[in-house]
Structures are given as C-alpha cells and as structure tokens.
Symmetry: C2
Subunit: 312 residues, 2 copies
C-alpha cells in the first residue's frame, strides 16, 4: 500500500516525478482526505502538499501515521505547523530555489508601475502612438527610495537587485541586518514615511496579517507605490483599495491578493495597479526545482534521514 | 532679434525653460525653417533641436550664421554631423542624464518578455485566473545568458543591473573593455550564439544600420529574445519580423522601431513581443535634465564658452 499522499494541483511534469519516485495517491485538495478509506489513510506516512487550502488538525486526525508534510513552496501558511509540531509531525518547505524568480518579478513589477509600461504598451498598440506622438512622461525609478518589508531570503534578493539601480534602500525587519549601506527601521510606518516604493516580502500566516496596515499605507503618501509579492494577507487590502481609488497613494503592483484567484473586482477598475496572477515562482526551471526539493524531503523522511529544509 | 531657433515637439515645461533662458523662435520641425524670412534666419546663431526628422545641409544653408546645433537626446542621428563639421558648426547632445532610465526600461522589458507579464496581466484581468487557476509556467530570467550589443554608457548601465540578476554577461564592442567577469565577442554572430537574451545598445546612424543582421537574429535561436532600446535602424526589422512570426526566435521587447510612430503593423499581430512607444528616457525627471543640458550647451556657445557635451 502506498505511503505517500500527494495533495494539490500538480502539473504533468510534477506528477511524473511524484509517480516515478513515490507512487502516491493523488488528491486535488485536502477535502478529499476524508473520502479515502481507513486502511489507505492509515498507511500514509508522508504528505506532499501543494496549494493554499488549509491543512490542519482535521486532516491530521484522518492520517494518524503521517510523519511529514512536505510543502511545495516557501510559504507554508496553509499548513497548521503548530498543530503538526504538537503531534510530532515534521513540516518542510522549498526555500532558496524560488528566491530569484520572485525577486525578478518584484523588480519588473516596480518598474512597470513607475514607467507605466503596461499602459504605454496598450497606448502604442491602440494606434494612439501613431496618431498623437510621444507618450506622456512618467517617473524615474533608478535612484529612488525603496523600502523592503521583511529582509529575509527573498527580500534580500530584491534589495541586492535594486542596489544595482542605485536605489536608496531602507528596510524593516525584527533585527537590524549586517548591511551598513541600507537603513533599518524598527517601525513599518517609519519605513513607509521614508520611501516612495514599498515592497512587501514578509512570510504569510497569522503573525503578519495586515502588517502593512492602513497607517503604513497612509504613510506612503501620494507618491507612494506598494509592491506585494508575499501573501495577500500581509496587507490591509480594503485600506489599499481605498487609497488607490482616492489617490492617497500613487499605485500598486501586486502578485498576491486576498481570496485569489477570485480577487476583489475593485482592482480591475484601477489603472494604477499592475496585476500578476501569483506567478512569482512560476517558471519551468524553478517549479521543477521546487518539485524536486519537495520529493527529496519526502524521500529523506521515508529513508529515516534528516529533512533537507525543515520548518519545525 | 532672437538668436535661437527651437525646433521640435517641446512640452510645456521645456518651452517654459527655453523661453525663460533663450527666448527662441519655435518651429514644430525642420521643414518650417524655409518659411522664416531671411532677416530672422540670418540672426539665428544657435539651434535647439529635438526630434527624429533629418536636419542637414538644406537647413544649414538656410541658417548661414548658425554656430551650434544642440540636440535634445543622446542619439543625434537625425543631425548630419559630418555636414555640420565641414561648415564649422558645433553639435552637442545630452548624454549621461538618460542612461539610468533607458537601462531601467531595458531590464524591465527583458523580464516582462521572459515572464510573460503583460500576457499574465491580461489573463488575470479577463477573469481567466478565477476560472482556470494557475497561469502557465514561463521562463526564468536570473542566471541566464545575456549579450549586450554595444557596451557604451547605456550598455554598461544595463550590464551593471543584470549582473545583480546573476546573469552571465557577454558583449560586443569594437574594443575589449576592462570588465574581466564579462565575455567580449568581436563578432555579433558569435555573441548571439552564446546567449539567450540579446540587448541592442548601439548608437544610431549609418555606421550601425542593420548591425543586428538576419544572421545575428538567426544565431539567437529558438530560445532567443531580442531587446532593442537603441534605434530601429540598428536591426534588420524585416528579418526580425520573419523570425518572430516563424518562431525562429522566442520573442522580442522593443522600445524603438523603423518608421516610428507608424510602426509596421505586423508587430501588433504578435503576442511574443513587448512593445513600448520609444519612452526609454521618458520620465519627468530625466527629460527636465535633458532639456537643461541642451539649454546649457546653447548658453555656453552664445557665451563663447566650451560646450558641455560636444559631439564633433
């Protein structure tokens, strides 16, 4: 009987890898666990998890012999890690391999917003370039003041790139980092006050919920642009929408949203927002690396070895 | 009688600066020179030039006492510099101040193309994200192999930025530069063979016409992406369109075109091309700096001082 349960929307390449190495039972989401018969559930020792639906006590109760939940992705806020730890269940994620992609997207989103590239493209394609001549002037990005909220692995990759754009780099993190050229802020409102571009690179979960609060958004000011590549939950989205609609801030560039993919339709009516469909890590190369790291964590557990990238 | 003739599509801020410092006669383009009466033409000592229409012997014949043509922009291919030199007319441009903006746009265009950001945005906004789930995977940019055609001021700014994306940097230039981590190619076909992304940062003019030839484009190959922020003339545009339509290369990201703004409509039918309306230097900050440098060159000439940024 198979020892592995693969839960989530895996693509064909990923399924091929999972089947080859782990011959798992596949489920579209955690809701399907309850439909498995008891013998199959009892045999499961490892879960390969992908997706944003909650995986917690209910599912763990149904899988009494599970010892590891290996998450596909660096953000494991869908998994109740506290509950897992109480039960002695190990959790792993896939850090490192996706940092570059997420940072690339963040930088491009920032420039797209500042330089109005999506609007300029549509304007040219509509024939207005030929009719009206020069596109309207927009806004210089290089040399600007940028704030990174959360200087973890991904935040650091973003900051390293933006340093090459000669930006004045500020950041919030719990502790000051060894980056003497960059300015640490212990308060996110102070950070937002100091910069024009604010990039959110926090981990998700309850600890960071609405960390980018109404007050932080207000502090960004009318020249301010918010970039979010973390989780929709980290931002007070209602306050953000209000600020975008009223012009209290200049714009936003967002790869993540509350209730994605069914995002708030108010976003679609705004022309000062760059919208991406949560594709920060969405490259062939990186997803293959993430899938491999997830499998390697499962294999390590089943082989009684240390997890490669443990969370708890 | 006024000594300065301002030719080109100046915006209100620029006109304000010109009027304040030089009280020029304004013309929309060089064709208008012939309509000025002889007394006015004879009084002109300096031309502040903006635009892409040719300014050469015909106009110089009509302005017998002109001593300087101060171009707005780093690319002065619209001005017949050889003809100016023969007549002892000085030419200046506005280098330096626009490098950052052009490099920012080039980097963002490259990532937009690789990560399909424009397509992903349209897909999300169309409601397909909510209906179909994850956007299709695309292509990792960081760590890739990039070639810069022309490692002048702007090419260098682009390369410096892409180095922060951990890219393997190759370049073509007439002479090898003191950049030991980067690979020099003395032949553009060799360069195109070595990379996936080719960024054209040449000066315009007859010397570089179709420098990115059919052979160079073919050498890029089916994974190849061409980025052009220089001039449409530097690329064999017919060969580029053929290669984009046939899939001989993967895509392009273009800020410049032949016959812009009336660009070849074949571009509009392609979904693997990022189109920008020649807005490389199009920010409020940079255009103000370019306008000031142009005026300062005219003022230097009228004050019998050395030009700040001479071309000939």
């Amino acid at each position: 009987m198979t020892h592995t349960l693969a839960i989530g929307p895996y693509n064909d390449d990923e399924k091929q890898g999972l089947t080859r190495e782990l011959s798992p039972i596949y489920l579209d989401g955690p809701a399907g666990v309850a439909d498995l018969d008891a013998a199959r559930r009892d045999a499961i020792k490892a879960v390969a998890y992908k997706g944003h639906h909650a995986f917690g006590a209910t599912e763990m109760d149904l899988l009494p012999n599970v010892g590891v939940v290996a998450n596909y992705g660096v953000g494991y806020d869908a998994i109740d890690v506290k509950e897992a730890s109480v039960r002695g269940i190990k959790v792993s994620n896939t850090p490192g391999v996706l940092n570059d992609d997420v940072a690339d997207l963040a930088v491009a989103m920032l420039i797209m917003q500042g330089r109005e590239m999506e609007h300029a493209s549509a304007w040219a394609r509509s024939g207005k370039w030929a009719e009206q001549g020069e596109y309207r002037l927009n806004r210089k990005v290089s040399g600007g003041r940028v704030g990174i909220v959360g200087l973890g692995r991904i935040g650091r990759e973003i900051a390293d790139r933006l340093a090459a754009f000669k930006m004045d780099i500020h950041y919030w993190s719990r502790s000051e980092k060894d980056t003497p050229d960059w300015t640490h802020h212990s308060d996110p409102v102070s950070l937002a006050n100091a910069v024009d571009y604010l990039i959110v690179a926090l981990v998700g979960g309850s600890d960071t919920e609405q960390f980018v609060s109404k007050e932080v958004i207000a502090a960004l000011g009318s020249r301010g642009v918010l970039v979010n590549i973390s989780r929709g939950s980290t931002v007070d989205e209602g306050a953000l929408l209000d600020a975008l609609e009223s012009g209290a801030i200049a714009g936003a560039a967002l790869d993540v949203f509350l209730n994605e993919p069914k995002i708030d339709p108010r976003f679609y009516a705004l022309d000062n927002v760059v919208i991406q469909p949560h594709q920060g890590s969405g490259t062939v190369e990186t997803r293959a690396a993430m899938a491999k790291l997830q499998r390697d964590n499962v294999l390590a557990f089943l082989g009684a070895k240390d997890l490669l990238t443990p969370v708890n």
